[in-house]
């Protein structure tokens, strides 16, 4: 009897409440996902820490690193995943395909790993011009060759027009962590120096310069680049404590996460943070703080004080680290907080963004 089956289906298949059982929503103030949940700031962190970490907790996830590091038959492997939804898909200095390869390569590099194999999943919107898809595929092939990784498995799905924005890409990857390398956020300790590998906020400004409604003329192009070679160079000269690529959420979010994980304070010197004139100008005009703007080819390294000079000089000898600078120190004061000496000699806290960075009115 067909009728008898129906209540059963409704109970288990059609009622979200039944699926959730009696668990209350962990973020009661939000009844739906808002864009700021994906901005890399406080709301992203809340979403991950209150809804994902507790549900899936294990020793690897709990480290809250850019990837998981585990041992298989005596070999230490790093495993990471990332999804790419950038709009527009082609932008000065790159495209979504290049970003998807380098993004996961860099997440693996931030674990200290030599990236080896990547997977990719495409979600394509009906109507995407074949030429554009072909351009993305070619860009991925070139990027994989540049980064020295092989794309070894993949998947494609197509959704109705309007159900995605042209193309979304997920990549996952594995790499080998060399013996003796031990990089994790908890290793930041008082006295360590914070080094950035170059000028910040470049990628975010390049994207914004071509975003609909915001178009402005600039010579800024995205800094997207594979950081694995730079990482292997600095691993050769010092015991690096922490590595992080400050992508969405910018330098601030990356450093705040490290300060919270390691229960240390981080103190920055604003005058020492490298920012190009073009990016500075764009940030002034748009009312944005470069400390919160995304980077794609930059890394933050935290190293012991006495190893900071050799690391800095090794970075500066690499094409991707020419403008590297020591921008701050780790302290045992105000654990969990990033503070900064401002350009004019004042001090302030540099907190994570509460929502999306919105342009101010005037």
């Amino acid at each position: 009897m067909a009728g008898e089956g129906r209540p059963d289906v409704q109970q288990h298949g059609g009622d979200i409440g039944a699926l959730m059982g009696s668990c209350p929503l962990p973020l009661p103030e939000y009844q739906e996902i808002v864009l700021a949940h994906g901005s890399g700031g406080k709301l992203s962190q809340q979403l991950i820490r209150s809804m994902l970490f507790p549900e899936f907790q294990n020793e690897f996830l709990n480290v809250a690193h850019d990837g998981a590091i585990f041992t298989v038959n005596g070999t230490r492997l790093a495993f990471s995943t990332d999804s790419f939804v950038v709009n527009p898909i082609f932008f000065p200095g790159g495209d979504i395909g290049k970003l998807a390869i380098y993004g996961t390569v860099n997440d693996l590099a931030m674990c200290g790993a030599r990236p080896l194999y990547l997977s990719t999943g495409f979600i394509l919107e009906e109507g995407l011009p074949m030429q554009e898809f072909w351009a993305v595929v070619n860009s991925m092939r070139t990027a994989a060759a540049t980064a020295g990784v092989d794309l070894v498995t993949g998947d494609t799905k197509v959704v109705d027009r309007g159900k995605a924005d042209k193309i979304f890409i997920n990549t996952s990857g594995i790499g080998i962590v060399p013996i003796g390398v031990n990089i994790c956020p908890e290793r930041a300790r008082a006295g360590d120096k914070v080094i950035v590998s170059g000028e910040i906020a470049v990628h975010g400004i390049a994207i914004m310069s071509v975003r609909e409604g915001l178009e402005f003329e600039t010579e800024v192009s995205s800094d997207t680049a594979p950081l694995s070679d730079l990482v292997s160079v600095i691993l050769g000269v010092a015991d690096i404590h922490v590595l992080r690529d400050p992508t969405r959420g910018g330098v601030t979010s990356a450093l705040t996460e490290i300060a919270q994980s390691a229960r240390v304070g981080i103190f920055l010197d604003e005058a020492r943070i490298p920012i190009s004139e073009e990016v500075k100008g764009a940030c002034e005009i748009l009312g944005l703080d470069p400390l919160y703007v995304a980077n794609e080819g930059k890394l933050l390294a935290i190293v012991a004080d006495d190893e900071s000079a050799p690391v800095l000089s090794a970075m500066r000898g690499h094409p991707l680290g020419r403008n590297a600078a020591i921008i701050g120190i780790v302290t045992d004061e105000h654990p969990g907080l990033v503070t900064m000496k401002t350009r004019i000699g004042g001090t302030r806290v540099v907190d994570m963004l509460s929502g999306e960075q919105l342009p101010r009115i005037c």
Binding site: E29, E32, I33, V34, L35, A36, K42, L43, G213, L214, F267, D269, A271, E277, K280, G281, E284, L286, G287, G328, I329, T331, E333, H334, L337, T339, K341, T342, R343, I344, G345, G346, T347, R348, V349, V350, D351, S354, G355, E356, L358, P359, R360, I361, C362
Partner: protein, 380 residues
């Protein structure tokens, strides 16, 4: 960066701080009128560089903060309509109405767009002839010329699917209201540099002399603020009450006459309700009758909306310089930028939001700078 870095020079800032220290002999309460100035002060830690005698209190000049709850609720009613593209300056999107904010409406499917200029919403109107494009025209005298220009051009070009929801406010009536309040503590003002770029500063002269307060029209870079403080303190110590111009690279006494003419041709002065402060007579702009076809309030016939602010919020007192953000029991706890209870926690220019963004809820009032990173000019 040229014309920016010069005004953020640490050595020059140190000299100005020293000069303020030498000049001041007794406690003074100064108010910076503009939210942009508050932002610079907190972002650069300027208030902590000043001698204890100089107290800065934060003024009502955050346009997003003082836009009334009724007006925001009206905006939400309009933005929710399926036939509307609702355009706004970015920092208005997170301002809570009685129910939600524009970001939440956007996540529920409303077509809400951030524009940098009201003229951009005219472009959107031309590109979407079957939609009604509404621009949320808020702000002080600073944004009035741009908003007036959008309406003027729409009329000239015969664009019929464009309108503005006007909630303009004016600075001088707000300053007068503050000075007349029995709770007032303010003894001198850093005047609104960009408002005066448009309007000039003649209209501040009667305020300075009637209430015997020095008003120094001040810019927005750190050295502008410090110089503005120094000039105000000098006047206070000398017991003078004049309007001075710290910002002559931008501001002239007569202001920008052509901008004023444009504003006066499109807008007329009206009474306006300020969020957190209440109704102030003749403190706003509305469209002149000749531009009624572009008035979103008329087009969409939004009814009067009953609203209520949370009882715990002291934003009205913060906006009038009577209280500081951290005097509020909800600050940084129940009230944060992602869940703001009141007006001043909503925009980067709001005093509470600026305090929160730069971590005043996390930090002790005077934090220590580690020795290895100390500069030559580290304040006290």
């Amino acid at each position: 960066m040229k014309f920016i870095d010069e005004y953020r020079n640490e050595a020059l800032a140190g000299k100005l701080v020293e000069e303020i220290r030498r000049t001041v002999t007794k406690p003074w309460v100064l108010m910076e009128v503009c939210g942009g100035q508050t932002h610079t002060i907190v972002k650069n830690g300027i208030d902590r560089l000043l001698p204890d005698e100089v107290e800065l209190v934060h003024g009502p000049g955050c346009p997003v903060c003082v836009t009334s709850l009724e007006m925001i609720d009206k905006a939400h009613v309009i933005a929710k309509r399926p036939d509307v593209i609702f355009c706004s300056f970015g920092d208005m999107l997170r301002v809570p109405g009685s129910q939600v904010d524009l970001l939440v409406l956007k996540s529920r499917g409303a077509d809400v767009r951030v524009v940098y200029s009201p003229i951009d919403s005219l472009k959107i109107a031309r590109a979407n002839p079957h939609k009604k494009v509404v621009f949320f025209a808020i702000g002080f005298e600073t944004t009035a010329p741009g908003n007036a220009m959008a309406v003027w051009q729409a009329q000239k070009q015969g664009i019929t699917n464009f309108s503005v929801l006007v909630s303009h406010v004016l600075v001088p009536p707000a300053m007068t209201t503050l000075l007349q309040s029995p709770l007032n503590r303010v003894q001198g003002f850093l005047g609104p540099g960009h408002v005066c770029t448009v309007m000039g500063y003649e209209e501040y002269e009667p305020i300075a002399s009637r209430y015997h307060v020095p008003i120094v029209i001040t810019g927005f870079e750190p050295l502008d603020i410090l110089e503005g403080v120094l000039m105000t303190v000098r006047q206070l110590e000398a017991n003078t009450a004049e309007v001075e111009n710290q910002y002559p690279r931008v501001v002239r006494r007569e202001g920008n006459r052509s901008a004023q003419e444009l504003v006066n041709s499109v807008f007329e002065v009206c009474d306006r309700k300020w969020r957190g402060v209440g109704a102030i007579p003749k403190s706003g702009y509305k469209l002149r009758p000749g531009f009624g076809d572009f008035d979103a309030e008329k087009i969409f016939e939004v009814e009067e909306i009953d609203t209520a602010e949370p009882a715990v919020c002291i934003s009205g007192l913060v906006l009038r310089g009577v209280k500081k953000p951290h005097d509020c029991p909800a600050f940084g706890k129940d009230c944060t930028p992602s869940r703001p209870l009141g007006a001043t926690m909503v925009s980067a220019e709001g005093a509470c939001a600026a305090y929160y963004a730069y971590g005043r809820h996390l930090q002790h009032e005077k934090s220590n700078v580690p020795h290895s990173m100390q500069g030559t000019n580290n304040g006290r």
